[in-house]
Amino acid sequence: MSLSGKAAVTGVGDTDFTHDAPGKTILELQLQASLAALRDAGLHPRDIDGIVMPMGGGATVAEDFVTNLGIPDLRFSTTTPLGGAGAVAAVQCAAAAVATGLCRHVLMPLGRLGRSGQNQRIGARIQAMPQFRTVGEFESPMGAMAPAQFYAPMARRHMELYGTTSRQLAEIAVTTRRHAILNGNARMRQPLSIEDHQASRIIADPFHLFDCSLESDGACAVIVSAADVARDMAKPRVLVTGVAEGHPDSPSAITQRPDMTRVGLAKAAARAFAMAGVTPADIDVAEIYDCFTWVVLCQLEDMGFCGKGEGGAFVEGGALGLDGRLPVNTHGGLLSQAHMAGMNHVVELVRQLRGEAGAAQVRDAEVGLVTGYGDLGDGTIAIMARG
């Protein structure tokens, strides 16, 4: 049995994204986003019978949503602890659950106090996660504490092997910012130039400040429903036509990875395209996980939009803009909208395919994809289509 076309995204919601959600808990933000997604789907909270929590081990659990939303009969719940790949992994999990009849409507809430949370800045936060246990013991004592430092050698090797430049990474940051400026709910609304990027301070060479995403406060929620039920719901169906998860070699230590310029998505992408029966040439819009600019470039290669080593040239000249060869991160991404661990990418893809993306709408967007990238290189991808 293929999962293709068996599930649809029927509701999306988000809160305002800020750098300081005043007095709010993660649960309050998630509940606010969940209510917005329920309204969007035209569902009552009692209709929810499945919950997938992306990023397991977070501050909240499925029971919190049963209690607060008054869900009478939750039949399926699980977590997808894949860091930034967790949101799209949750879509896969929910699609499988509704396709097999375990449940009909799955709620996936994701919230963060990435900016204002007490003692929760990135260096301290990841040290508490079991996925980082190996690097925590063997690499953190040397000062390698944060994703920027773990991922920088991947980018540096790519640059040395293929001649990729910091200015090419800047193209990604600049185009993404241009999209954020069109979005009423984005944290970074000031224009950014390649020169601004080049002049910004270095965080972990080769990453400048503007190669890095934004610690943010807020929440997103998405509802996945059985495709047959979704036919009669409030909004046009957005079908999940292909979905897959992939893990890189040496998933717990990039240092030991045979090819550190390739991530887990390289294994997942071909499976998802085959399931959906499309190729990269068919994709109208792509929401690509962008914790760092280079991670976007690497994923473009690993999905087959260009060959390995060709990503730098691929992104030049505004190619990722709304009128470019592949519109990417039309909401402003993690780089300039907010770091909602990629659930904001799922929300944006659905809005694009419904024609609800406002000033950043890609004309005639019918088929699109969203990726996740998490922890030390886990990858997920969902291909969706209006239908």
Partner: protein
């Protein structure tokens, strides 16, 4: 103001010999007693032959540059004021890699394949860690 300590490893029985080796000035690598494969970082099971059996061998002490980063932002209060420092991902002839700070040179001296020698240094807080230098 009390000094903030650098991160310390949580050492378990499996990884104790690695850290004891560094404390004695030696970089030790785990070797499978079933098939002879050398693995790093230390872990319970050989992924080639699935034997738990292992002993420890001292690394030859040479390496080449696989990649690197220069840490400018500290990300941890104990490293405030220390950056920028260069962390090298280095290929060992034993077929595994290490991550280690570069001593006595800047990142401008590095290219893929640059030859290195491995040393061991105290981090100033009683923890011995591998370091690398350019080979002469």
């Amino acid at each position: 103001m009390d000094a903030i300590a650098k991160p310390t490893p949580e050492i378990g029985p499996l990884t104790r010999p690695y850290w004891d080796g560094l404390a004695a000035g030696k970089l030790l690598l785990q070797r499978c007693t079933g098939c002879g494969k050398i693995r790093h970082y230390p872990r319970p099971l050989c992924d080639a032959c699935h034997s738990f059996g292992h002993d420890w061998v001292e690394a030859q002490g040479t390496a080449t540059v696989h990649s690197w980063t220069v840490a400018h932002h500290p990300f941890h209060p104990a490293f405030r004021g220390i950056p920028p420092f260069t962390l090298v991902t280095a290929d060992l002839p034993e077929g595994v890699r290490i991550l280690a700070p570069l001593r006595d040179a800047g990142d401008g001296a590095l290219a893929l394949g640059t030859k290195l020698v491995i040393g061991v240094e105290d981090n100033g807080e009683g923890l011995a860690l591998p370091v690398v230098r350019l080979a002469r």
